[in-house]
Symmetry: C2
Subunit: 768 residues, 2 copies
Amino acid sequence: MIKYLKTDPWLIVEDKFSQEHHQSSESIFSIGNGNFGQRANFEEAYSGKTLQGTYVAGVYYPDKTKVGWWKNGYPEYFAKVLNSANFTGIDVKIDGETLDLATAKVSTFKRVLNMQEGTLSREFSAELPSGKQVQVSAIRFLSMAAPETGVIKYSITPLNGDFEIVFTPYVDGNVVNEDSNWDDAFWTQIDHEVNSGLGVVVARTNKTEFEVATAMTTQSFLNGSSTEAAAADSSKEGYVESAYKVKVGKGQVLDIFKYVAVLSSLNHKKEEILENAKKAVNGAMATGFETMLEAHVAKWAAIWEHSDIIIEGDDEAQQGIRFNIFHLNQTYTGEDSRLNIGPKGFTGEKYGGASYWDTEAYCLPFYLATAEPKVSKQLLLYRYKHLERAIENAGKLGFTDGAALYPMVTMNGEECHNEWEITFEEIHRNGAIAFAVYNYIRHTQDYPYLAEAGLEVLLGISRFWSQRITFSEEKGKYVMLGVTGPNEYENNINNNWYTNTIAVWCMNYTMEALDWVKANKAADYDRIVGKTNFNADETTRWKDICENMHFPFIESEGVFGQQDSYMDKEQITVDKLDPAQRPINQYWSWDRILRSCFIKQADTLQGIYLFEENYDTETIAKNFKFYEERTVHESSLSPCVHVVLAARINNMEKAYELYHRTSRLDIDDYNHEAHEGLHITSMAGTWMSVVEGFGGKRVINEQLILNPQLPKEWKSFSFKVLWRGSQLKVHADASKCVISNETDVPARVILYGKDYEIAGGASIEATK
Amino acid sequence: MIKYLKTDPWLIVEDKFSQEHHQSSESIFSIGNGNFGQRANFEEAYSGKTLQGTYVAGVYYPDKTKVGWWKNGYPEYFAKVLNSANFTGIDVKIDGETLDLATAKVSTFKRVLNMQEGTLSREFSAELPSGKQVQVSAIRFLSMAAPETGVIKYSITPLNGDFEIVFTPYVDGNVVNEDSNWDDAFWTQIDHEVNSGLGVVVARTNKTEFEVATAMTTQSFLNGSSTEAAAADSSKEGYVESAYKVKVGKGQVLDIFKYVAVLSSLNHKKEEILENAKKAVNGAMATGFETMLEAHVAKWAAIWEHSDIIIEGDDEAQQGIRFNIFHLNQTYTGEDSRLNIGPKGFTGEKYGGASYWDTEAYCLPFYLATAEPKVSKQLLLYRYKHLERAIENAGKLGFTDGAALYPMVTMNGEECHNEWEITFEEIHRNGAIAFAVYNYIRHTQDYPYLAEAGLEVLLGISRFWSQRITFSEEKGKYVMLGVTGPNEYENNINNNWYTNTIAVWCMNYTMEALDWVKANKAADYDRIVGKTNFNADETTRWKDICENMHFPFIESEGVFGQQDSYMDKEQITVDKLDPAQRPINQYWSWDRILRSCFIKQADTLQGIYLFEENYDTETIAKNFKFYEERTVHESSLSPCVHVVLAARINNMEKAYELYHRTSRLDIDDYNHEAHEGLHITSMAGTWMSVVEGFGGKRVINEQLILNPQLPKEWKSFSFKVLWRGSQLKVHADASKCVISNETDVPARVILYGKDYEIAGGASIEATK
């Protein structure tokens, strides 16, 4: 744990400059608007350690796979989000001397991420090696209202003399990815121009041929009046700059406004992209900083209106949860079904920026409750559009007849990951994608989505399970051999309870969906049958599997068995582990981890979490105790599911202990890895912890259920849930819970087991 | 299968030049003398496709590991045998025009590997683009009698004119490994000199700092008289050459003798290596080609005297078995316990030239029967010297107190391999290394070897098993979880029958060895106890494990279970496989292979092979049938064990079918990979097939047992066995077997179940 940031309900504040923490801060203070994003790199030159990072959503490069020992079926490429043109930079020279916080003496430094308004700002005084002192304040944002634009306001005041200041805003496309496998060039620079301060760089990604145009234009003011400084333009391949020279007297304020626009060929014709970028950046300048900021803040206000969580009595928890909600909304806005949510969002390169099952398993519940249904639907359509690729992927592994295996990691539907025990075996991901269809529909009642897209996805997935599951003559049961469950600390196991459970659920749900579409959307049913060559006889085997599937059960403990041989392992509980050997993934060899009973993240409990309504409290409690005692939580995705179940069985102490760790994972840099980027998808897990854990939110049999209960550390907490057209604000303190309907649409809720109808604008109150 | 070589009992003959087959021929015609070796690259320039390869035993480079996803415990380096200075080259210019078989018109080409004498020769006529024709004959060998030297005799005769011939022998140290992971430089050139034709290049390996000096000197004769041609010396870093100009009339013969010496710092002080190389090459020249050849041929005659196998009635089988014996003897001569046997010997780069369990499991039986005991003992000492490293290796995986895990792949005792399912889990290799101690002693009666070195190795290995095996409360038995057996088409399985069997055997044998040393070598016992901190109580757990180990058994089939869950797999026999999908390792994705019941190579049968005396014929037959039906033999090491067991149960048709494939694997290039190098270690398996399979050789209860039986395709076969000081020649035909004692030492043999004492020089005859 590294604690150097101030606690504040709405702000992340670093109030001392530290070169040591700078790269972590670059991650933590990252900003984005769903369309593009960037790490909190400094505007002015910085010769210290930095990870420059600017990322454009949906623009990727298929980097040639690196592998020690090739296995048949591995993909050739790993699609990576690209570090793209740096548009943040403004070089500053004071009487010819470069302003650089690595060489200057810095005092009164303050870096602030304003989560309420979505801005990143900095203030500092710096004394250059020559002794010249300046005061700087900088603020920037990437507009949520006009998501191809952003703006930086950068202000300099001489403190101990009159200085000639030369400032040089630039766009630099000559950037590389640190995580490149083979040091390939990811970009080809194809055009650049700069005229009177209006500069554009256009670059094309190699192989994928995306184009990105990055434009800038700059205005400057001295004590509020235009400086009228002429731009000294210059450029080279991939790079444009415009230098401005201004004499600034002691105490005067030089304000620089750098407007930027980032356009990609996902949204623009290539032949128009350069001109459109110029138009966009000129448009931003015409709008002006203040008006842009107002529109941006208004957008954030609307987001918070739906998604804010307020925690009273625990400032760290308050800051932690908002930090998570803020970053989730910066990363994905649901505007474009070609986009998805990378594990690091726009905050770093690691994991290639591609999509994992995290999206469906952790992020979707957040968007379902806090954003209008179309946002969640975009996430589902993303997978629908990849169905053909998933069928191809299954084909590579020997599956036929429309069986679909969604990739473990992907950008465009093709599998990227190359580690056989994950790529080929961690197939439970298919289940999460099917469950997302169900989860979306049970929240939104959008049954027609089944006919539109859902059923085809479900069919492909169920066909995969049906082929992947085999019959064991020995057991007289259906089995699923050679899988990796969510617990990646076991590989190539047989009959992972979770995977078997979700596979059987998928087949049952697909049969329900078939019935619904056949009954309600006959034309769509015929179309889908024709398109997929579906034969109603296929379900005979599915039914047989569902009735005769093998599920490991540990008789001696009365709990479900994580896999067939789990109990052959030496049973040791986590409390017996030497703390000096934790996390075990840093201290133990891989085989030792595999042979141990220790669990990386919720596995059997993941299944109980998803299908909780099928299990009584005693079963949940028994399984929770058994598996929690063996879980080391060495994935950022682990604690949230345990929090939800711990709260479910009234183990509030355990729930709070696990919650606290997950909510401040990045702010307090628990794992010393914040410098690589933030754990964006696990942030959704933190939201789940509060709303489903402490809030007890469930949707069962079409009904919204709430059971708020307070950790003793909190005075009260409140959150909001969008529910079938209504927005409910749930506020709970130690004695009672109040639910207010903030819309005109009446809502039905089961609170603490009692059924309520809440009229528009009305509230209900109940005690547990 | 690619059949382009002629069948001949003692020769490998290629009688037509084919650029297409050239790289395969470079492998197949490789020569070596245990100390160094080379691919059959041409002497003269060749602009076609070629894999230049010269390798010096024991000289390696630790190439930085390449890996997709790092796992704790992986080694940083993979030690690779190095392509070292090319000493073969003699550039030839005919009136200024380069002789190059890729551009010349070649007629009457013949390349011959004389396995009886250990020479590689070539004859051809070539017409250059200019129309000039020459006849060339070349012969070379790497001396078995003086293993740091070699010689090339290269003769040119103008066929259609008088030509000025400039020939330029050179040594070129500027070579690279094709299999370099990161294109690192493996060598640093540190010295070179050339004076009057005597040239030396000295290079040092990076990181490991071995030095190799490669020297040459040349004589030439025209129609038998010295040409007196002056050497035009020249050199650059890593390279020396001496050009000679001679006018050669039509029909005259220009004979060039290039003497070479290759010295390594394993055997020479670095400060002396250059001078010693000059001395060695001058010594070779002083000895002269003919005398060197005589001594070399005499050494080969002695080798064949011990190791030849004669097969009558099946010329392909005859050639095949000699080819295997020849290459084994070229690769390893047992002179140096720092050396071992790489899977490709000196014939290619693949698999890094390092040692695998192949040495103990396949090669040792060959050397035990065909070479004096000290040769086998060197192989054992190699592992003894690596014991500390094996203890360190086990330590990296969390084992303590002197537990030793020998590496999967090694050059100097450190693990090189990085693939978790093999590196960490294919631990049965430890068993092979222990079994080798036992096998050596039962052949040689060298019990004192236990006290000298064997017991320490056994102790380390048994301690490893004792820690690696855990107790399953569920089963009430000891279990071994997460292993890979010899069948690498299953990974991370539980209770591999073979591994469990050899582990228990190891512990039992170690306890026997402890007793023997304590009773017979008390001082050594005390020394070993002190050195290893051995506590006699340790054996309490070993005994408990040996008595209560779990061994999978398949009741329904009455056979041992390859692993706990083998019968959960769909049971399909190999004859049901679509031939178009074979080998499955080329056509199936890795997960499909893992989930299938198909077996790469002998696994359960490997255990039955090693401990055959413990199982009755019915058990052997049942297991053989069950597993052979499921084995795809996609390792070159697979068929031999099946041959031995098939012959054991009188399934001679199956034995012959499998034998034929293994014996001509490389000559007939069954897998289209001969160009990468030969399958040296599997060649020992071919020898096992004949001597243990068709010959029925066993050593049980200190007795030599023979049960020869003939495949119906053969008229007779004979082989030799060194047995406790005697050498026995076993000759069998369809009606009888004759065993002749070729020494003065009497020998006891059980032939066809009857006990014989064979006096020195005597023979016995028996019918089955």
